[in-house]
């Protein structure tokens, strides 16, 4: 690519704004989707993540079926144990930090100073990884742990593109109907749309199922007209741009990892995807201002090590996996990419490990509950 069209920057700004706005409206937290489920059996956020995956999977399948995008555009990376290890460390890091990559951005827009610190720490982690990449990480970690040199998406199987998404989403719907009944299933749609009544902009909270669906649709449109959504890759390039101001552009060109991050760029600078990241923060800022929930939130000093340590771990592991929660859950699992399915499993295990062994939280998911006794009797 020799240059970026201005249209792409405008599209990126709109996408970013919408993501930030919606993430803030539902308080969409990927850490809590696993942590609160295993710890206190709260499945509200988990349902949101599943709806997001289902919508993205269908969206990717539809856009490939109609030829709006090609199989070569589906994001998949080499398969290996680094997917699992990177995902696991990212899961631990985000639980310690208190938010995932997208959560840190929307909360930064809500006025959380803690998550500005997390974002800066993540960026430092990105650079630490880039500094040790060649030759150490590339030769002694990634290569030995690699199982396949190229990525693989199940969309590459010689099957109709919509077959697997329909089967997987069909099973998800069947499980939902089995648990809540047909009436309960359709009531869910009604409940999810309730928050749009009156003036939804002033409402501080929108139903997560509605937001998850909208996020999946927007990510599909982005996939068709622009790129696969990702956060930590663009963040690495943003800090690369900052470093090029301090140490000169040679610093970037001489670093194997950073050089390849800018391979498709006309020069070292902010591209559409980086613009999208900035607008996520802005979208969340506007959403929180409208609902009156913006506030400059200063962290307790004793929690700073969590923000810095968790952020650093997220920054390093997001390069190893590669990708954060958003790239892997939406573009990756939505794109039926094997590597991302492994990363997401790693992340869930990482969140569990940090919940159980670092924070030593209750693990109600594995305890027999009173209401189960009631059902049994």
């Amino acid at each position: 690519m020799e240059f970026f069209l201005i249209d792409m920057f405008i599209a990126a700004a709109i996408f970013g704004f919408l993501y930030g706005f919606l993430l803030q409206k539902a308080d969409f937290c990927f850490v809590a989707s696993v942590r609160d489920f295993v710890s206190v059996r709260d499945s509200r956020l988990g349902k949101g993540v599943l709806i997001l995956i289902a919508t993205a999977m269908m969206g990717w399948g539809i856009s490939l079926t109609f030829g709006w995008s090609t199989i070569g555009e589906v994001w998949s990376v080499p398969i290996g144990f680094t997917n699992l290890v990177g995902g696991l460390l990212f899961g631990i890091g985000m639980t310690i930090a208190g938010s995932c990559a997208s959560g840190a951005l929307y909360r930064a827009g809500m006025g959380y100073v803690q998550f500005w610190i997390v974002i800066i720490s993540m960026m430092i982690g990105n650079i630490l990884f880039a500094l040790v990449y060649d030759p150490w990480t590339a030769n002694y970690v990634q290569q030995p742990l690699q199982l396949a040199e190229s990525g693989f998406s199940l969309f590459q199987l010689n099957l109709p593109f919509l077959l697997l998404p329909i089967l997987i989403v069909g099973v998800m719907i069947l499980i939902t109907i089995r648990q809540f009944g047909v009436k309960g299933f359709f009531n869910g749609f009604k409940e999810a749309a309730m928050d749009l009544k009156g003036n939804p902009l002033k409402r501080s909270h929108w139903d997560i199922r509605l937001v998850a669906f909208l996020l999946g649709v927007i990510a599909t449109v982005q996939f068709i007209i622009m790129s696969s959504i990702s956060i930590t890759g663009p963040e690495t390039r943003m800090v690369g741009v900052a470093l090029s101001f301090i140490f000169g552009e040679e610093f970037i060109y001489n670093n194997t990892y950073l050089n390849q991050m800018f391979a498709s760029f006309p020069s070292i600078g902010i591209g559409p995807e980086e613009t999208l990241i900035i607008f996520i923060v802005l979208g969340a800022f506007v959403a929180s201002l409208l609902s009156g929930s913006f506030r400059l939130r200063l962290p307790k000093k004793k929690r700073l090590p969590y923000a810095i340590g968790g952020g650093l771990l997220m920054g390093i592991s997001s390069r190893l996996a590669p990708g954060c929660n958003i790239a892997n859950v939406v573009s990756g699992v939505g794109g039926l990419s094997i590597s991302s399915i492994i990363v997401v499993i790693g992340m869930a295990v990482g969140v569990f490990i940090a919940t159980a062994y670092i924070f030593k939280m209750p693990l109600l998911l594995f305890q027999k509950m009173d209401f189960e006794d009631d059902i049994a009797s």
Partner: protein, 86 residues
């Protein structure tokens, strides 16, 4: 039971938990440890500026069957979550 903001403000508070500046999972952990110390019937209030805690703490105490959620008062991004130990 969900009380109105005025009724909540008029309640006698037995345990006040300062969660301002805290994020998950600390916001939940400090609420749970205060509830463990409280006697049945006592009111525990956590003050927090972490918006998602207004969802996670009520869900957690209901599931734990450790407290009743009396209600939440919000003022400019600052929330007070009123709980009564069961």
């Amino acid at each position: 039971m969900s009380l109105k903001a005025e009724e909540l403000k008029g309640l006698e508070i037995n345990h006040h938990v300062d969660g301002v500046g805290e994020v998950c999972p600390h916001t939940l952990n400090i609420a749970l440890s205060a509830l463990k110390k409280a006697k049945p019937g006592e009111v525990v209030v956590e003050e927090t500026d972490h918006s998602i805690a207004t969802k996670t703490i009520p869900a957690a105490v209901k599931m734990n069957k450790i407290a009743e959620v009396l209600g939440i008062v919000e003022e400019n991004g600052l929330y007070k979550i009123y709980l009564r130990k069961l």
